[in-house]
């Protein structure tokens, strides 16, 4: 391990030496930088300022991305601006980025774009991308060297024209705690071919509760070996061939880069486009997706993982800052009282004043702030020109530019104060609340809201859909009750945005506050469960174990797979059947529909028979009835009406047995009312020629060896079976 790491480091150093000159000079490398995340995670701050211009350790985020692109040898960057495009363009025009030699920054502006897909389609129309390009969003921090990934991409492209994209991934710890505490995102599963590094499967919102993921078995059939990872982190840096843009244009419904494009390519095997991965080891790359990752990436910067993009190295016109012991960064012209305590991992910006006996730790303080005495600041992000009066307490909060906190105000963990909010004297802002001068928007109406207008287009992450739904519910109440009196204490200015109960559940995930203890234990319990699962179930996958497609494993997967599917299938069939009953659809049509369902779910006709029978019995039990005999009558009616449907799936004896088993199951579980009628309904089925005697006899024979408890129904229909036996003997 050690030796390997060293070698890797040496190789990286060697690669770095040979980086710039020849390879990149041949064809100028282009990049598309999306200066809009098309999500709503940073509300309410993003109502007033675009996300890419939010300061990350006192430097606007976009500078990190641009500085990296420049260092990585990109010659031309197209910055796509959408929400607050004016601000982004103004900023870039006044920055040094427009005057760089060998590095051009061009802006593309559009106002009616609601997703990354639309943005790429627009760029395609402009016809500015001529070769391979780097696709990145303006909130990504990295210090990786592109040379190797680019070279791999080019070589693959030469050999295989369908290799259109190389995705950069990074190892992370597989535990959900780490995932949650580091990035606030869901677990990510990837299946990668260990030899070619081809990406075969991508799932970023696997269902935790089930503890299972579904793999297409073709995946296992087609590839000699795949490794399934839950310990990889998507860096959201992609090297793309120009085809990617045209793919977006061809598939006009692609909106989200990962959810639609990547998954679409992986599923669609007609065109045969392939996506590959490139794993980075010693270098850093992460994207700021929500407040939690904002917190984490800031800390990573302060801990210098992103070197050389750290506060004390000048990389994009940031102010000179000096690194002192224990990770303390101090800019010039700071007025700090002798009795003020500035702790470790703290950044203090230019011209900030700190009063006596104030304690600051693990925080970032912007430029020109005034901090009074006896103030406590812990794990917080305070942007520029903030005034904090004496005796305030701030723990794990984000405070935007120009905020004024009157004496004695307290911010509980997770609070976000947007621009120029004023908090009144001794006012306590409750945990996780978001305060803004703007009122919470009711519907997504104004065009300012483009940044997050995508809710309607269904491209937001799962949790945020929930969040918005909750919010919109909450708005109704807030509008009437509290919105018009800003409850921020005496002299306070601003509105507290309401979060209602469901939202609060999600709040802790994405906030800068540390994860509450109970959630942590919950998570770790979940993790223990996972581990138990692994130990119990041999086929469960070890964290990154290479999975050779031996029969054992694939069967295991298939079983789980089909179990899952069959539930859906049954539901679909039931729905179809009920509709047919209600609308009097012809039997032939129902057969057709069920057949198509069968094909799409890849089921056998036995499954169909079971499902159809199940729905019929369900219908029977739902039909109002007063006594058992009435129920029997209903059942008989239904069976008579729909016997043709049922029969079309009863091709062989096996299917008939399946029906009996299904019925048995129902009687035991979902429809206990049937249990006394079991024998009689069996008889009806026999009468209607739905079940042949062979099937019934074989079922009885099979049950012979079963447990006593399993034999209840065999007993019940003993007479009937007896009669059948005799009849068949007579026939013989």
């Amino acid at each position: 391990m050690g030796a390997q790491k060293k070698r890797a480091a040496a190789a990286a150093a060697a690669a770095r030496v040979s980086e710039d000159p020849d390879d990149l000079a041949r064809q100028p490398l282009q990049a598309i930088l999306l200066a809009d995340s098309f999500t709503t995670k940073f509300r309410p701050i993003t109502l007033e300022r675009p996300k890419v211009l939010l300061p990350l350790v006192n430097v606007p985020m976009i500078n990190y991305t641009l500085a990296w692109l420049e260092a990585a040898g990109v010659a031309e960057v197209f910055v796509f601006c959408c929400a607050h495009s004016k601000q982004v363009i103004d900023y870039l025009e006044n920055s040094e980025w427009f005057s760089q030699p060998n590095f051009t920054v061009k802006t593309i502006e559009s106002h009616n774009i609601i997703s990354a897909g639309d943005a790429l389609r627009l760029i395609y129309e402009q016809n500015v991308i001529h070769g391979d390009f780097v696709l990145i969003s303006g909130d990504t921090v990295s210090n990786m060297s592109l040379t190797q990934a680019l070279q791999e991409h080019k070589e693959r492209k030469k050999k295989d024209n369908n290799a259109v994209m190389t995705m950069i991934i990074k190892k992370s710890k597989p535990s959900p705690i780490t995932r949650q505490s580091r990035l606030g995102t869901d677990e990510l599963f990837m299946a990668i071919d260990p030899n070619t590094k081809q990406l075969l499967y991508y799932e970023d919102k696997a269902d935790h509760s089930k503890g299972t993921i579904c793999l297409d078995k073709m995946l296992l059939a087609e590839n000699p070996s795949i490794s399934l990872h839950n310990d990889k982190q998507d860096c959201y840096i992609d090297i793309c061939s120009p085809e990617v843009l045209s793919l977006f244009t061809d598939n006009f419904d692609y909106q989200h880069l990962r959810r639609h494009f990547v998954k679409g390519l992986l599923l669609d095997d007609i065109m045969g486009y392939k996506i590959f991965t490139h794993e980075i080891h010693s270098s850093y790359a992460a994207r700021i997706d929500n407040y939690r990752s904002y917190d984490i990436v800031s800390k990573d910067i302060i801990q210098r993982w992103t070197y050389p993009y750290v506060p004390d190295v000048k990389f994009c016109g940031n102010r000179a800052t000096k690194l002192e012991r224990r990770g303390m960064y101090r800019a010039l012209e700071i007025e700090q009282s002798r009795s003020a305590q500035v702790g470790s991992f703290t950044v203090i910006g230019y011209g900030t004043k700190i009063g006596s006996n104030s304690k600051i730790s693990d925080s970032v303080i912007g430029e020109g702030c005034t901090i009074g005495s006896n103030v406590l600041i812990e794990g917080s992000y305070i942007w520029d020109n903030v005034i904090i009066e004496d005796g305030c307490e701030l723990r794990h909060v984000i405070v935007c530019d120009g905020v004024i906190m009157k004496a004695g105000a307290v911010l509980k963990p997770g609070v976000v104060l947007s621009f120029k909010v004023v908090i009144g004297e001794r006012f306590v802002v409750p945990a996780y609340s978001k305060v803004s001068l703007l009122q919470q928007p009711t519907v997504h109406d104004s065009d300012e809201e483009l940044e997050y207008a995508d809710n309607s287009s269904g491209t937001v992450e799962f949790s945020s859909i929930q969040g918005t739904a909750d919010q919109s519910n909450g708005e109704m109440t807030s509008e009437s009750s509290e919105a018009h009196k800003p409850k921020l204490g005496t002299g306070g200015v601003g509105y507290i945005w309401s979060i209602c109960e469901g939202g609060q559940e999600e709040e802790w995930r994405h906030s800068v506050a540390p994860i509450p203890e109970d959630k942590l234990t919950e998570l770790s319990e979940a993790m223990d469960d996972d581990q138990e699962l692994v130990t119990q179930d041999r086929t469960a996958l070890s964290t990154s174990g290479e999975l050779i497609s031996d029969s054992n494993a694939s069967e295991g997967d298939d079983n789980e797979d089909s179990k899952d599917d069959s539930v859906y299938f049954e539901k679909e069939v039931e729905a179809t059947f009920l509709r047919a009953v209600e609308e009097n659809v012809k039997v032939d049509h129902v057969i057709l529909e069920v057949n198509s369902l069968r094909l799409s779910y890849n089921m056998t006709s036995a499954d169909c028979a079971g499902a159809v029978f199940y729905s019929m019995m369900k219908l029977a039990i739902k039909t109002p009835h007063s006594s058992a005999s009435e129920l029997q009558q209903n059942t008989a009616n239904i069976i008579t009406t729909w016997q043709k449907l049922l029969k079309s799936y009863l091709l062989e004896i096996d299917e008939e047995i399946e029906i009996i088993l299904k019925f048995e199951e129902m009687c035991l579980e979902s429809a206990k009312e049937f249990s006394p009628l079991f024998a009689r309904i069996l008889h009806i089925l026999y009468d209607k020629d739905i079940l042949q005697e062979d099937a019934i006899l074989r079922w009885a024979d099979e049950k012979e060896g079963a447990d006593e408890s399993d034999k209840v129904f065999v007993r019940q229909s003993e007479k009937f079976i007896q009669w059948l036996r005799e009849a068949s003997e007579e026939e013989d």
Binding site: A67, E96, N143, W305
Partner: protein, 415 residues
């Protein structure tokens, strides 16, 4: 003027700082040369204008990367050059005046000879009042002042009448001379490896064992030079964790047919008893003779002292820094990414804030440089020859003007 200098600057490059100081020194000198050549010079106080221009740019350059001391060194060297040239021009002019007053009707040939001598004498006298005379400047001056009399001879007779014409020619002259001198400086920087390597045979003897740490181009060339002179010797290379530059050095040495042994940094004490001489490169040499060198160097120096092995530091003159290392680990060090030590994926959660309360329990400090105090250094080999650590201040007095130290120190202190 040159507003894009910060973009020209390799912004936060992840490249090798030790290897890079020669390149940065050269580029700094080249940039300053272009600044000087573009600078419009007023009729009066040309030197002042040039100095101001160079200072303004230099300040930005130094601020852009305060860790790379070579930048500041070159800025000061250029300032020094401007002062020297100005001084020699002034003294030459004064000399010319005196001369024309004393011997008005002498023929040109004689006057040339005389004025050269007297100019040099006056320059020396003028300089001695400013600061102690230096060998370097005296040697430098001879060719310059030999070129001077043309000016004074052309304007000598009509000194009072065509003062402005003389001034303009003098300013052009000054700029020209300065650029010439900067060119020489660039040349020095480019050839510093060769000049140092030339001395290799005097220091490396047959069948010796040499120990080095990490990788330095100067050391590499030095060893090659000895090898080319048919010296046979062995090299121990300490790998130089955490960047393992030593691996690359070992590779290159082997490629040139040198018998090489690679050891870990921690094995230095074990191996030092078999070593005849330690030869290492440096990031910077401070005014007191202390050395800023890749991390781990202090350990090697202590080991060498313990076993009385000579500890030789190779450094081009652009690495001579006129500053004193008052607080080296904070002021002049560079803390690099923890990813050189740890795997981010494995250790990131130990350094997390989110799950624990308060600060993370794991801190990672990855300094790039060590400070080796002068008493541990046996010998410096620069392109100007071998020197004792205690002689460093003298060399620095040769290369830099005292005025610039003060001014620049204010500029650097501003960082």
């Amino acid at each position: 003027m040159n507003t894009d200098d910060s973009s020209w600057w390799p912004m936060g490059d992840g490249g090798d700082k030790i290897e890079g100081s020669q390149a940065t020194a050269r580029q700094t000198a080249e940039l300053l040369r272009s600044v000087i050549s573009q600078q419009r010079v007023p009729y009066t106080n040309q030197a002042g204008a040039l100095i101001d221009a160079v200072k303004a740019i230099g300040e930005q350059l130094i601020a852009a990367n305060p860790v790379e001391l070579a930048v500041g060194n070159i800025v000061r060297r250029v300032l020094h050059i401007i002062r020297e040239e100005d001084l020699s021009l002034t003294t030459a002019a004064i000399g010319g005046l005196n001369l024309s007053a004393v011997s008005d009707d002498e023929n040109d040939d004689d006057r040339d000879g005389d004025s050269t001598l007297s100019a040099a004498a006056v320059a020396a006298a003028a300089r001695s009042t400013l600061r102690p005379p230096s060998l370097q400047t005296l040697l430098e001056d001879t060719p310059v002042s030999a070129a001077v009399p043309q000016t004074s001879s052309s304007g000598g007779d009509s000194e009072g009448k065509s003062k402005s014409a003389d001034k303009s020619s003098r300013s052009r002259k000054l700029k020209h001379d300065v650029i010439e001198a900067v060119n020489e400086l660039i040349q020095d920087i480019v050839t510093c490896h060769e000049q140092i390597a030339e001395q290799a045979v005097e220091h490396i003897h047959q069948n010796e064992v040499i120990l080095t740490l990490g990788s330095s181009r100067t050391v590499l060339e030095f060893l090659f030079a000895a090898k080319e002179k048919k010296r046979s010797f062995r090299v121990f290379v300490a790998e130089g964790a955490p960047r393992y530059q030593g691996h690359l050095l070992a590779k290159e040495l082997v490629a040139r047919g040198l018998q090489t042994t690679l050891i870990t940094d921690s094995a230095v004490f074990a191996m030092i008893s078999r070593v005849n001489m330690v030869i290492v490169g440096a990031h910077a040499v401070m005014a007191n003779g202390g050395v800023i060198a890749p991390v781990g160097m202090n350990l090697v120096a202590l080991a060498a002292q313990k076993h009385a092995v000579p500890f030789v530091v190779l450094a081009g003159s652009h690495k001579l820094c006129p500053l004193y290392p008052h607080n080296p680990e904070v002021l002049l060090n560079e803390l690099r990414s923890p990813s050189e030590l740890l795997d981010f994926g494995e250790f990131s959660d130990c350094m997390d804030f989110g799950s624990g309360s308060g600060s993370p329990l794991l801190h990672v400090v990855n300094p790039a440089f060590d400070y080796v105090p002068p008493k541990l250094v046996s010998l410096f080999i620069t392109d100007a020859g071998g020197h004792n650590p205690s002689y460093m201040y003298r060399l620095i007095a040769d290369y830099y003007s005292a005025d610039d130290l003060v001014v620049q120190r204010r500029a650097t202190a501003g960082n």
